[in-house]
Symmetry: C2
Subunit: 265 residues, 2 copies
């Protein structure tokens, strides 16, 4: 079955739209920081903005030039985070190479860190003590719950160990009792891991990295990359996210869910 991420996202948004009216007396606003002219970053932010609008959440993009320094950007993120009107703060990644990304992310206080990326929020997440999950993890959890996938005795392979996808998801799966393998570009035999897996999650960003010969019949494939040769792989899967309207829209609503969750505290 092909997962209709857009439909799942819409269902959650309509729940969110209902929820944001009632228990929250204040108007929520998501503050997004955009540095430089990365076209994908702008596209993603515009997408998030349009979804936030449907959910009844204000959205403000703070733009800064590519040439901003780490210190300047950190100061700006501190100020943006301090503004009462901003209920949650995200910094669209990647930042330019000269910026110390983690130092900038650490300027977001836990109670507004809806991407779970500051050192403090990650510490809370990795010790199992944060009230929200990193958006990619929440998106995977939404899918597993919707399709009643029990991960405890499953073999899972994660392609890539990045900040947003591989690292948090592999930890979360292992903490839930799944068997987890993390493979990367140095792995001599990625196919042998993938072929043995009930669940494959990929977050590399390398088209056609995962081909049909690497996937066993009936596997579940969640593709953040997109890394999957979709047409051939989908024929073998019991469940798969397509490259468009797949996991992406669910990650976006996970960010909004996190905003509401932290605002409700």
């Amino acid at each position: 079955m092909i997962i209709d991420g857009k439909k799942i996202a819409e269902e959650i948004i309509s729940q969110i739209a209902d929820e944001t009216v009632e228990p929250l007396s204040k108007q929520l606003r998501l503050a997004a920081v955009l540095v430089g002219n990365h076209p994908d970053s702008r596209k993603f932010l515009e997408l998030k903005k349009s979804v936030a609008k449907i959910a009844g959440i204000d959205f403000r993009i703070y733009e800064f030039p590519e040439t901003i320094t780490t210190q300047q950007l950190r100061k700006e993120v501190v100020a943006i985070s301090k503004a009462q009107i901003n209920s949650g703060v995200i910094v669209e990644l990647p930042l330019p190479a000269h910026i110390n990304t983690q130092y900038v992310l650490n300027a977001i206080p836990e109670e507004k860190d809806i991407d779970v990326l500051s050192q403090k929020a990650q510490g809370a997440f990795f010790t199992g003590r944060f009230k929200i999950l990193p958006p990619a993890v929440e998106a995977v959890k939404i899918i597993f719950e919707k399709y009643n996938i029990n991960i405890k005795d499953k073999n899972c392979t994660i392609f890539g160990y990045g900040l947003l996808v591989g690292k948090p998801i592999s930890h979360w799966l292992a903490a839930q009792g799944a068997t987890v393998s993390v493979v990367n570009e140095f792995t001599p035999n990625p196919k042998s891991y993938a072929l043995n897996s009930d669940i494959i999650i990929s977050g590399v960003g390398k088209p056609n990295l995962i081909t049909a010969d690497m996937v066993k019949d009936g596997a579940v494939v969640i593709d953040f990359g997109p890394d999957v040769d979709f047409i051939s792989v989908s024929l073998k899967c019991s469940l798969i996210t397509p490259p468009t309207s797949g996991i992406g829209p669910i990650v976006i609503v996970a960010v909004l869910k996190n905003l509401i969750e932290l605002s409700l505290k």
Copy 2:
């Protein structure tokens, strides 16, 4: 080859003993918190104490009854951490079941958290920004450096995902570019993971969990458990830690190294 952990530890201790004389003008003291009457905990602490003595580091054990509450224990750990005379603080685990362990560990400030167990220190570790490593990770790193083991293209299997061994080591290996599989008691086919592995690291505490038929010729086996059927497995390994004088003494010196490292800042 059988790793002589005691010898490696002694080499490091003699370095430490030299180092602690010179650049540190103050006498270092390690404060250890012991709750209840867990005989293993007391044994481990006495071991740490004797090694600290050789390294010229004072060691004070603070004992509390099994019946202490989480709030009381947290208060005590705050006070112990505040005392200037204590350069580093450890809480011997496990704590009694009624105690909220992570909440107690969070009372240790980063600059004295030589076990890297508070939420803050773990956040710093998981974002690659802590100046020391969790002792079990440091011990593995010491072995890999001593025996020139390059982990980047290696298949590694980690047995268990506990706070002290499996969780930090699997993250560190993956962050270094190793291929890492975490297996647990729900894993349907642990043998297939282990047999495919160049490196096996185990931290479960279940004797004879890992038998010779699960290990490929030439593998490196590091056993925190002890979980390995040592006599039969050692015949197949290129490198293995024995159940006594193995990884244990190296972990203890890693704690002392961390104490010195954080005190030098």
